[in-house]
């Protein structure tokens, strides 16, 4: 083994959390200059393993070798010294700082006692040119798109001379174009000798860029493979341990009455520009309307308006024949609208709350969760949670653990469980499967179709063409705040949708 050219070797690492065995005797090798994909179900322990490597957690057992030498990693600063760089599953940038300031944070270049920003800026430009990672060093981080912010994170690692790069679900929020750019950068980096651990749930990407693949399940490594030995189906089966349907099975829709009507909706954004322009559509009971579009074309604002989180500037929304009062989520909860929000940490969950409280976030005041005199009924709240954890297969040690300790996919299941278990007439699901593993996607898609078949009118908003294609009965394409066209899902093709999403005008038909 040692004759191999290994950048990093993880030997028999075990990491326990209260009630959870997150990593169970995990061994893993990373060769110099390779892209090694780490796959696994939600909660399999991928992020935990990487956090251990990066020194954020201390392993209970096991050891690490870097360049074939055993090393002690007691904190991120040790990891950085050994040349490990990590781009986390969520941003670790200071939004109000410039790119340069963010980059040098923690490893400041000084001249005497003052920061030598100019030198830092020059160095950053050099690195970014060398690797083809374009950024404006003076831009303020909160003003730049997600894809560029991520580039900053990668540059930050490179600036600290990382030659082992960990990318934890880097493509979850990227547009397809941004993802392509990222892959190009990744390949260029490996040519310069950087080794990359790449975590993702998108099997296509894995087959596209990885040199080798390691799959984890329930804390253990369950297999190794490589792109030319397998395909999507094979990978999915390896991850989940059974056959996974990558396509949704559904009967033709039987649309009923109109349940939700949006008429001439116009919304002004923060800078006074119209982000949603005169949008109208209707949703019928028993159908799924898919709204497709590249991130940032007004979908977020549209959904926030429909679900009562945002005020509108013109137009109206009609739910079950009644005009909806604006910015009143409580009205919507009580009149049968369910909402799976795009941002599960901002809106969907109260992270420090336990699962039981999160499951009743919208209905905490209703019977049986509250009784006389505003008293909460903890027993009912817990029974509800235990039932939903079982029904929606949430992987958690119990109903009383904080939502923050769950893996991303399981957090999403908590939200889905909460919303789907209410009596619904309309369901609005925004990016419902972002960050989820194939098994969970299959499950959530099945549940959405089941809702449809029970007569709920469903709106699914997604940036993934495949998700829209497999779920929707009708597809509306959003571009620059407008619905450019609406087509029957039967007549839609991937290529055509892609063009429309990119702004190509549909032929006048």
């Amino acid at each position: 083994m040692t004759e191999e050219n290994l950048a990093l070797e993880i030997r028999h690492v075990t990491k326990r959390f209260p009630g959870v065995l997150a990593n169970d005797d995990v061994s893993f090798t990373l060769r110099k200059g390779e892209i090694h994909a780490l796959l696994g179900e939600n909660g399999a322990g991928k992020t935990t393993l990487m956090n251990v490597v990066y020194g954020l957690y201390t392993q209970d057992e096991g050891e690490f070798l870097i360049d074939n030498n055993v090393v002690e990693i007691n904190g991120p600063s040790d990891a950085i010294n050994y040349g490990i760089g990590m781009v986390h599953q969520h941003f670790m940038l200071v939004p109000v700082f410039s790119v340069t300031e963010n980059m040098i944070l923690g490893s400041e270049v000084t001249k005497g006692t003052s920061l030598d920003l100019r030198r830092a800026r020059r160095e950053i430009l050099e690195i970014s040119e060398a690797h083809g990672l374009e950024v404006d060093p003076d831009a303020i981080v909160e003003n730049i798109p997600v894809g560029v912010q991520q580039r900053v994170e990668i540059l930050k690692a490179l600036y600290r001379k990382a030659n082992i790069l960990v990318l934890d679900e880097p493509t979850a929020v990227l547009t397809p174009q941004e993802a392509e750019d990222l892959f190009r950068v990744m390949r260029a980096l490996t040519e310069k000798g950087v080794s990359i651990i790449f975590i993702t749930h998108k099997l296509k990407e894995v087959l596209n860029v990885a040199d080798r693949i390691t799959v984890m399940r329930r804390g253990k490594v369950v297999g190794h493979t490589s792109p030319h030995e397998t395909d999507q189906k094979g990978l999915a089966a390896m991850m989940v341990g059974r056959e996974v349907l990558l396509e949704v099975k559904k009967a033709p829709a039987k649309p009923g009455d109109v349940v939700l009507e949006v008429a001439n909706l116009t919304i002004e954004g923060e800078r006074g520009l119209e982000v949603v322009k005169d949008i109208s559509f209707e949703v019928r009971a028993g159908e799924i309307l898919g709204i497709a579009g590249v991130q940032g074309n007004g979908q977020t604002e549209l959904v926030e308006a429909i679900t009562g989180l945002r005020s509108i500037d013109a137009g109206e929304i009609v739910l079950m024949g009644k005009k909806v009062p604006f910015e009143n989520p409580r009205y919507l909860v009580e009149n049968g609208m369910g909402h799976v929000p795009e941002d599960r940490h901002k809106h969907g969950l109260v992270l420090p709350y336990n699962l039981a409280d999160n499951f009743v976030l919208c209905t905490y005041y209703q019977k049986p969760f509250a009784g006389q005199m505003l008293m909460r009924n903890h027993q009912a709240v817990f029974e509800n949670a235990v039932g939903l954890i079982k029904r929606f297969d949430v992987r958690a040690p119990g109903a009383d653990v904080p939502a923050s300790t769950l893996s991303g996919g399981n957090q999403q299941k908590v939200i889905v469980g909460r919303e789907f278990s209410r009596p619904l007439k309309v369901l609005v699901a925004n990016q419902p499967t972002r960050g989820l593993d194939v098994g969970s996607i299959e499950y959530i898609h099945k549940e959405i179709v089941k809702m449809r078949d029970e007569g709920v009118g469903v709106v699914v908003i997604s940036a993934e063409i495949d998700e829209i294609l497999s779920l929707a009965d009708r597809i509306a394409i959003m571009y620059r705040g407008k619905i450019v066209t609406t087509v029957d899902a039967k007549d839609a093709t991937r290529e055509q949708l892609g063009l429309w999403m990119a702004g190509v005008q549909p032929e006048a038909a």
């Binding site: 969520h90 599960r344 940490h345 109260v350 972002r434």
Partner: protein
């Protein structure tokens, strides 16, 4: 049998994890207190005093006799209220620096009700007078709440400014329209309250202290057992999620400030009716501000606030004895109190010293891209 032992094991585990949680909650405040006392001792030694004698005198003056203990509890009582006031607002994510102003209005209103309402039976008179003070505090607390809810004005700024408003208005009233004229008095103070409005003591223990305990329990119950408390805590932890959940965020902010002001006002009220016997500026100085120290020392939990208030109350009660017996300036207790506040907020220093790592889970919250 297997089931039985498994159950026992479960229980043992949950008990030990409960103990662990308790330890993590109290470790930092406890260490902060000890560290402050230690540094206090060093300061005393440097200034030429005998720290052991000084502390012995401090303890004697606060716990050495029933009388001393009663004094400690009397000092602690308004502090429990102001601590609860600050902590309650904190739960909704609000930093109420204005407990002082709310407390002043409470103290004044109760004193006024105490001397103006005549012919009421004692129990009723006390009840009415206490309510008058609490409501005065609540109304004054509502102002920053409304400003925050409708204009977004930071409650930190508005409450600081409103403290000055409160100080000046109450001073004016006590020195002007409602000034005590008995016996050629020239001091700014209101007339003495009637006996029927006095909050008595049982032995040496002031009844107000029991009231403070009861109110602490009610506050705990409200926060953790009622839907209103759930709304308040949700707004505090995540206003966005609260809105998503259909909670009325603006209303909750106002309500929280009203209750917070109510609690502070009650503290002032007990001080006027139980200790001072009238409203006299100066007697209430700093009680509201101490509430901030106590809330933080008590980890903003009602049951942490009670011991924190007793501790600070003891330092206040014993300070004179210390000065008298050990010849130490009693201001040293203020220094120690300030050190406690410093260390409890400088959480990290303490954790380094104690070498207690934060729970792994506290350190980073796992999430997906763009899901924060």
């Amino acid at each position: 049998m297997n089931d039985q032992s498994k159950n026992n094991e479960e229980n043992a585990r949950s008990f030990s994890s409960w103990l662990g949680a308790l330890w993590r909650a109290v470790a930092v405040p406890l260490a902060a207190v000890l560290l402050a006392i230690l540094i206090g001792a060093i300061l005393l030694a440097i200034s030429g005093a005998n720290p052991f004698r000084a502390y012995a005198a401090l303890i004697e003056g606060s716990f050495g006799s029933m009388k001393a203990f009663g004094r400690t509890l009397a000092k602690a009582t308004p502090l429990i209220f102001s601590g609860l006031s600050v902590a309650f607002a904190f739960k909704a994510g609000l930093f109420n620096i204005g407990a002082q102003g709310q407390l002043l209005f409470g103290a004044l209103a109760s004193a006024v009700a105490g001397f103006m309402l005549k012919g009421l039976p004692p129990f009723l008179h006390v009840t009415v007078a206490v309510l008058a003070g609490a409501i005065a505090g609540a109304l004054f607390g509502a102002i920053p709440g409304v400003l925050k809810a409708y204009t977004g004005a930071s409650e930190v700024i508005t409450t600081i400014m409103l403290n000055y408003v409160a100080i000046n208005i109450t001073d004016y009233i006590a020195d002007g329209p409602l000034k005590d004229s008995a016996g050629g008095n020239i001091v700014a103070r209101t007339p003495e309250i009637l006996d029927s409005a006095r909050i008595p003591s049982i032995g040496e223990i002031p009844v107000g202290f029991f009231l403070a305990i009861i109110v602490s329990i009610i506050v705990w119950f409200t926060l953790w057992r009622t839907t209103t408390g759930f709304e308040i805590r949700t707004v505090g932890l995540s206003p966005h999620a609260a809105k998503y959940a259909g909670m009325r965020v603006a209303f909750t902010v106002i309500l929280t400030m009203i209750i917070s002001g109510f609690l502070a006002g009650m503290g002032g009220s007990i001080e006027s009716l139980g200790i001072v016997g009238r409203y006299q500026p100066g007697f209430n100085t700093g009680l509201g501000f101490d509430g901030i120290t106590i809330a933080l020392l008590g980890k903003t939990h009602p049951f942490g606030i009670i011991p924190a208030a007793i501790l600070i109350g003891a330092m206040k009660a014993g300070a004179s004895t210390m000065q008298f017996n050990a010849g130490v300036a009693k201001e040293i207790t203020d220094v120690i109190q300030a050190l406690m506040l410093f260390f409890v907020t400088a959480d990290l220093i303490i954790r380094k010293l104690l070498r207690t790592r934060e729970e792994d889970g506290e350190k980073i919250i796992l999430s997906g891209w763009g899901q924060q």
